[in-house]
Symmetry: C2
Subunit: 384 residues, 2 copies
């Protein structure tokens, strides 16, 4: 993919500072003017040191830079971890000539290993001269861990630009915010409005993805709106943002560790949207469903079993289940489905599972992936 231009007044750079190997591991995304900002963070109670610091910095609703390293999460590193983030933020602030408190820091990678802060500090001087308008793809690469492709999107509405990058491949089940994603726009939006729009967009995109039911300690989604392109129709902006984040969410699921297939689960007829989401998550996270999809095994009984495990009462006699257009279970009875046809469908690389509970108006759509040999390989050999 080609580089994409950042919105007005935004610049970025990405580089290797040698945290683990010689691949890009550090990026700064900067706005020439202070920007309205909003962010959502992991609900994990062992949140990373950068999350602790970032939560303070976002409080007033303004930021001027995102600073992110990969290869080390700076999590479970105690008081030293906090001091290390502060050091990095101060050195970057000095280099860019901005306030430390206007920087949102993030780190992603291994947990429990002290951050090699001196390596990062050495990589900062001169960085301001490396900033450019067309380097966002490099930033998307610099925040990758086990991701196999860089995730970035761009859109425009009436002359307003909107860009975002994201990373995430394992330890992904955002409950509140998500893995890492940064959104930049030159639209003029008040911090409070930006925060509300971001939350709603994340709720139907990143919060609907699960790769392995583990919520990372570092999850962060943050947005800066620097206003340089003037005001925007907020409804259209929210629609564009939501579409963009759904595309990125599907990229995350498709790039789940070891994934060979994107799985979309649509649930309707639940008593409310929360119950539909719970059901969607339980299907997306079932190792038995995920391995059957990997092996294109037409074992639809595993969906039935997972539905039956719902934490709330369902009406078994109303339940219908389909894979694509193939109905396998209809109002509590097995449908006369062609298992060969189902196997063929499961051999594709995008699988849609639809579940109707027949018990209300609640619905939810979410995304995940299959569970393959490579998931085991990647996660059995992560630190070694």
């Amino acid at each position: 993919m080609e580089q994409i231009l950042l919105p007005k007044g935004f610049l970025s750079c990405a580089k290797n500072v040698g945290i683990k190997d010689n691949t890009p591991d550090f990026t700064v995304i900067y706005s020439e003017t202070r920007a309205a900002a909003a962010a959502m963070f992991t609900k994990n109670q062992f949140c990373g040191a950068p999350v602790t610091v970032g939560k303070e910095h976002i409080k007033n609703g303004f930021l001027q830079a995102f600073v992110v390293n990969s290869k080390n999460a700076n999590v479970a590193t105690g008081q030293q971890g906090i001091e290390d983030v502060q050091t990095i933020v101060e050195v970057v602030a000095k280099e860019l000539g901005i306030e430390s408190a206007d920087i949102l820091p993030s780190s992603t990678g291994v947990i429990g290993v002290p951050l090699p802060v001196q390596k990062i500090v050495k990589g900062i001087p001169g960085l301001k001269n490396e900033l450019k308008k067309d380097g966002l793809k490099d930033s998307a690469e610099a925040i990758m861990t086990t991701d196999t492709f860089a995730k970035f999107r761009s859109t425009e509405i009436n002359g307003i630009k909107l860009c975002a990058i994201a990373k995430g491949s394992g330890m992904i089940e955002p409950n509140m915010a998500t893995m890492l994603s940064y959104i930049m726009t030159d639209a003029e939006i008040e911090p409070a409005a930006l925060k509300a729009i971001l939350k709603r967009a994340v709720d139907v995109s990143f919060n609907m993805v699960s790769v392995d039911s583990d919520t990372s300690t570092s999850d962060t989604v943050a947005a800066m709106a620097n206003g340089l392109a003037g005001p925007v129709d907020l409804e259209k902006f929210e629609e564009a943002l939501t579409d963009m984040l759904i595309s990125l969410a599907k990229d995350l699921a498709k790039d789940g560790e070891g994934a060979t297939k994107l799985v979309e689960v649509q649930v309707d007829g639940a008593q409310n949207n929360d119950e539909a989401k719970l059901m969607m998550k339980s299907i997306i996270n079932s190792p038995l469903v995920k391995t059957a999809i990997f092996g294109a095994d037409p074992n639809w009984g595993r969906i039935i079993s997972t539905i039956g495990n719902a934490d709330y009462p369902i009406k078994p006699e109303k339940v219908c289940v389909s894979f694509g257009d193939i109905t396998v279970f209809n109002e509590g009875e097995p449908a006369e489905s062609d298992l060969d046809e189902l196997t063929k469908y499961l051999e594709g690389n995008e699988i849609i599972i639809s579940i109707s509970l027949g018990d209300g108006q609640g619905k939810a759509t979410g995304w995940g992936c299959d569970l393959s040999y490579d998931y085991v390989k990647i996660n059995g050999e992560y630190t070694t």
Copy 2:
């Protein structure tokens, strides 16, 4: 392992009736006298047809036989499934000369495929003559699905015998009852006392096992006490039963689909036992923890992240984590642990993870297994 003798008055037989292939797939365990009985069943809302029938038959607290087939679960088979169970129960009752209502039926295997009821019915005549006192190991084999070894135990207290068999290897996270397990004793115990003892013993044994966080549609634990050896000290009986079921529970975890290691997770210092159990389950079920253990990857940060995802407030600064005797995290700070030593420990085949939350008296111990390539293989190719 050698065959074990059943308690007084119990007989069993196991055979192949051709449900799927030529391995044993059908067993009957019979008491010569009507026995006090108790049972616990799956909480899955799509419970199997035999579970629906079994719940009715156990209501009065008496049984005289267990009848079990493997290779087909008779789940999601609609009204026909119920009729098929009733047919089998009636034919067995006639053969044994007992009441249909004194039979507890179970089925385990693939979901959503009609039970080949005629094959089973053809295998029943003459079965009474095949019953013997020393065939329990064969019964344990006949109820296996993806299990790699037969699970059976026997114990004695003051002349009272206590035997049990169990099966289960995948789709295992009993929340209330468990996979299949049948317990036979010649002790004299009232149905109500038997039920209470069974529940307490299951709560600290089978209910503490999870292979893949999926609760099967067919889970059943049932006990018969025919009283032929006279009364028993109930406290000692409960202790012996609990020990026996814990041994079987560990067998189940050890034989989890594709498992190469038994994992024991001990949690203490939680605010109460329920919270300790939730924490234990979240560690036992984390795919990231399970794959790291499979690969002997000393990536203890995954335990920290999983602890942080608890649904209730923890005190991160109090948390301690050890693998065997190796402490990796001590009161909120990384301990100076030797990662090579940790790798060596993780290469063993029994891994103990201890977590202290430092926040109360609640505790729980549970068992699971690692997540290997073979789990993916077994479950990607199950029906095909």
